[in-house]
Amino acid sequence: MDEVKDLTTKIVKNIEKVIIGKRRAVQLVVVGLICEGHVLIEDVPGVGKTMLARSLARSLNCSFSRIQCTPDMLPSDITGVDIYDQTSNEFKFMPGPILSQIVLADEINRATPKTQSALLEAMQERQVTIGGQTHLLPEPFMVLATQNPIEYEGTFPLPEAQLDRFFVKVSIGYPTTLEEMSVIENQQLVHPIESIEPVTSTDKILAVQRRIREVYIAEPVKKYIVEITQETRAAESVYLGASPRGSLALARASQAWAAMYGRDYVIPDDVKMLAEATLGHRVILSSSARLQEIRTGDLIRDILRDIPVPGGDFKGE
């Protein structure tokens, strides 16, 4: 698993030249990448969501496109349209922004549900069908969608079923004082994104994506993962718990995390590390819990604190 470790470390280091002090967020995005998943970045404007996506694309030497979602956007603005070409007398496919390898869908909750579902369908199927013609999306393919958690006016919150399609949810958060100072310093002359060089090729990414599936998950760890997911369904403050797709995502993400640290087996620490990112957005809190301002992150942390970890039947408190 050392090649996975080397590659991911290189990518993370490269992105960190631009996104300063946010290793966890960067690592989670890389996890999404090598697990062939999509990432939902939920954060306030200006913390570097777009920069994160762009620097990832540049590091991987992939094509990149950006969709700025607005309420008047149509599905065809994403997928592309067939246009009648008068010279050749036939319809010609004009690919939309979705046909890039790394797609940034900015403020996805501003798009209408119709457009949202077109995007999410493309994400899930990894193909678009225009005028009876199916166009496969390029590989690797990854959507980074952002949404602003504080704005509700004129937004169309993503339905829960759609949220389930995102592999992980990442929030970046504000940098610390020192980090923010170095951000200013870094951008004084030229934006560091310009100096980012690709560190890998798409072939290598695809190889890594295959490789992490080989990471071993011991029975007790599998059980631990399932217990966590089941606990989200049983918890009192939850209206709807995580689906089996949640368990699957948690297991896969844990495999990726283990591989990123050069291990060929998953340990409970990996699971704990990724539970919030993979399950948090798959859980719907009950209205009373929401009124009490309980957040899904707190819920997952509580669950992790209560479930005994596999590893010897030790008798702790």
């Binding site: 071993y216 011991a218 087996y265 340990i267 704990k272 596999p310 590893g311 010897g312 008798k315 702790g316």
Partner: protein, 618 residues
């Protein structure tokens, strides 16, 4: 099986220990065989490897139990209870004996044997200060080998076993005048037997260690079966046949030798009342000189009282009896305050207390008798005891300690009197008291000493040794077991122990903590101790050791690869090293907890003190 072993090997402890070990080994092996058969029939696999381990465990366990049993002194609960009672109720050694003992020139070698006993102090804190358990303790066993019907045949005076007589009253206690020691061979006559008003009574004594060194006898001793040192206040002139030494024992202070089993023939007066009434000859010089003096501390009202009590009594004997019966009208009690230092004890008893115990009665009787011109002295010893008809002996306990009075009658010698109200008069025939059931059922000890000193000094190191030995054996077995483990299980077993140390060190880990999370907490806890130079030296390398153990525990649990058994040695070695470091930390943390508790406790106490002071001020 143990019962049979006990029956046949009761005397030899060593054999018992060996047989115990063999028995335990046998039990362990047979048990395993039985279980093994069950496993065989049920088709349980992997039982062959267990056999070896079981054998080793059984062997070590048996050796441990054997050494423990061999090292432990046999314990009886009673002496421990006694010792405890004494601790709680005050020590026997804390007797407040008053009076200057240093003024007496004893001479000879054996004077330290009874140097303390020369002064019979008041009060007898020996009896008062100690609890009921002490009073019940048997101090001697007395039997009369020549008397056929002990209980009915003997005169009551034969049950007054004296140890010391005192002649000098100081106002606050009793002393003996200077004495001269003369050595007597076994069988040599100490007193003279020249009167027909004495009976020679043979007694056999078995003493407990608590009264060792003194000789007891009913009346003055005639002969002893051991070489003895007799302290004479007045040396008998011309040995045993001097005329100035009348019958009745002369002027012996005490007889000493260092044996706890002896036979004595002693002289018990048998003069009748009428004979004593006839005694009117002048007293010998040594009697008149010594036994009529009274200190200036005796106030006039005591002398007046003596005259009043004896007025109208025609003879010396009647006067003595009058004083005796007068004193017997005072009620008896053991619960008394210590008399004031500056008061005459007799005066204090006769006019203020008007109640007391034998020392007060006897002292007062001597003082009153001397005040009317009767030569009197104080006698200390034991009286009565419980007659055990089954063994034909008297069991004498500390509660039978007694003080009485002897008055000199010319021609008849020293005649005992009993002024203490709680006792029968000496000339009355005492009825044999039945034994209480708990004494009747006691095992009949044929040993010389009645009360063996319990070997506490043996118990403590033996226990310590047993604990240390057990601990060492356990450690060794534990490591040995670990070396034989499957490496995956070994890594986990080590972590189990690490968790235990974590609990002791209060690292505060939870069930939901992973190996790495626990490791972080443990490292953090250890860091505190590694900060000091001493801690850094003691703990050097703990991080690497914990890291290694954690790594293998994680691999063993979650990896698909199996660990190589070559790892065992290094894992056990690492654990051994780490364990010694952790032990140091655990001891240190417990110690500091103890210290902080003590600090808090003392602070609290101070605060309470301050609060109380404040309250008192308010």
């Amino acid at each position: 099986m143990l019962a049979i072993l006990m029956t046949y090997t009761l005397e030899k402890r060593f054999t018992l220990v060996i047989l115990l070990g063999a028995g335990l080994t046998l039990i362990g092996l047979v048990n395993h065989e039985v279980r093994h058969k069950t496993w065989m029939t049920r088709g349980v696999k992997g039982t062959e490897t267990i056999r070896e381990r079981v054998y080793i465990a059984v062997f070590f366990f048996s050796v441990y139990i054997m050494s423990f049993a061999g090292l432990m002194p046999s314990i009886r609960i009673n002496p421990i209870a006694d010792r405890f009672e004494r601790l709680v109720y005050g020590s026997e050694d804390a007797e407040g004996e008053e009076g200057p003992a240093g003024s007496i020139d004893v001479g000879g070698l054996n004077n330290e044997l009874y140097a303390i006993d020369r002064v019979a102090g008041l009060p007898r804190q020996k009896l008062i200060g100690s609890g009921p358990e002490l009073a019940k303790r048997v101090v001697m066993i007395v039997n009369y080998p020549t008397a056929a019907f002990v209980a009915s045949e003997l005169p009551n005076a034969a049950r007054y076993w004296r140890s010391y007589t005192y002649d000098r009253y100081s106002g606050s206690g009793w002393q003996s005048s200077p004495t001269t020691e003369i050595r007597y061979q076994p069988g040599e006559e100490i007193s003279s037997l020249n009167s027909d008003t004495v009976e020679v009574i043979t007694q056999e004594f078995r003493l407990s260690n608590s009264v060792r060194g003194t000789t007891f006898s009913a009346g003055p001793p005639l002969t002893l079966d051991h070489e003895a040192l007799v302290s004479w206040r007045t040396i008998p002139d011309g040995g045993s046949s001097g005329t100035s030494q009348p019958s009745g024992g002369g002027d012996i202070f005490a007889v000493a030798f260092d044996s706890i089993v002896y036979q004595v023939r002693s002289l018990v007066p048998t003069a009748s009342d009428d004979q004593l009434r006839d005694s009117a000859d002048p007293y010998p010089v040594w009697v008149a000189e010594r036994y009529l003096q009274l200190p200036d501390s005796v106030p006039q009202r005591v002398r007046d009282l003596a005259q009043e009590v004896t007025s109208g009594q025609p003879t010396r004997y009647d006067q003595a009896k009058a004083i005796e019966s007068f004193l017997r009208s005072y009620p008896y009690t053991l619960e008394l305050p210590t008399p004031p230092q500056d008061r005459d004890v007799a005066d204090y008893f006769l006019f203020d207390l008007q109640t007391g115990y034998c020392d007060y009665y006897a002292t007062s009787m001597v003082v009153l008798a001397r005040a009317v011109g009767l030569p009197a002295r104080l006698v200390v010893g034991y009286v009565g005891g419980l007659y055990d008809p089954g063994n034909d002996y008297y069991l004498v306990s500390e509660a039978d300690a007694h003080t009485w009075v002897e008055i000199y009658f010319s021609g008849y010698g020293w005649i005992p009197f009993e002024p203490t109200a709680a006792r029968n008069l000496i000339d009355e025939q005492a009825q044999a008291l039945p034994l209480p059931p708990e004494l009747a059922n006691l095992p009949r000890s044929e040993e010389a000493g009645i009360e063996e000193q319990f070997p506490y000094w043996q118990l403590v190191p033996a226990l310590l040794l047993a604990v240390v030995l057990g601990w060492m054996i356990w450690n060794r077995m534990d490591l040995e077991r670990m070396r034989r483990m499957d490496p995956a299980n070994l890594a986990l077993a080590i972590y189990q122990r690490l968790y235990r140390y974590g609990r002791w060190m209060d690292v505060g880990h939870r069930k939901s903590d992973t190996f790495f999370e626990f490791r972080e907490k443990l490292l953090k806890a250890l860091e505190r101790y590694a900060n000091t130079p001493r801690g850094a030296r003691k703990l050097a390398g703990y991080q690497a050791e914990i890291a290694l153990l954690t790594k293998f525990a994680v691999q063993a649990n979650f990896s698909s690869r199996t660990l190589s058994s070559h790892l065992n040695k290094s894992l056990v070695q690492t654990w051994q090293n780490l364990r010694s470091r952790l032990r140091w930390v655990v001891w240190r943390s417990w110690l500091s907890t103890l210290v902080s508790w003590l600090l808090i406790w003392s602070k609290d106490r101070n605060r309470i003190q301050i609060i109380e002071d404040g309250a008192a001020d308010g």
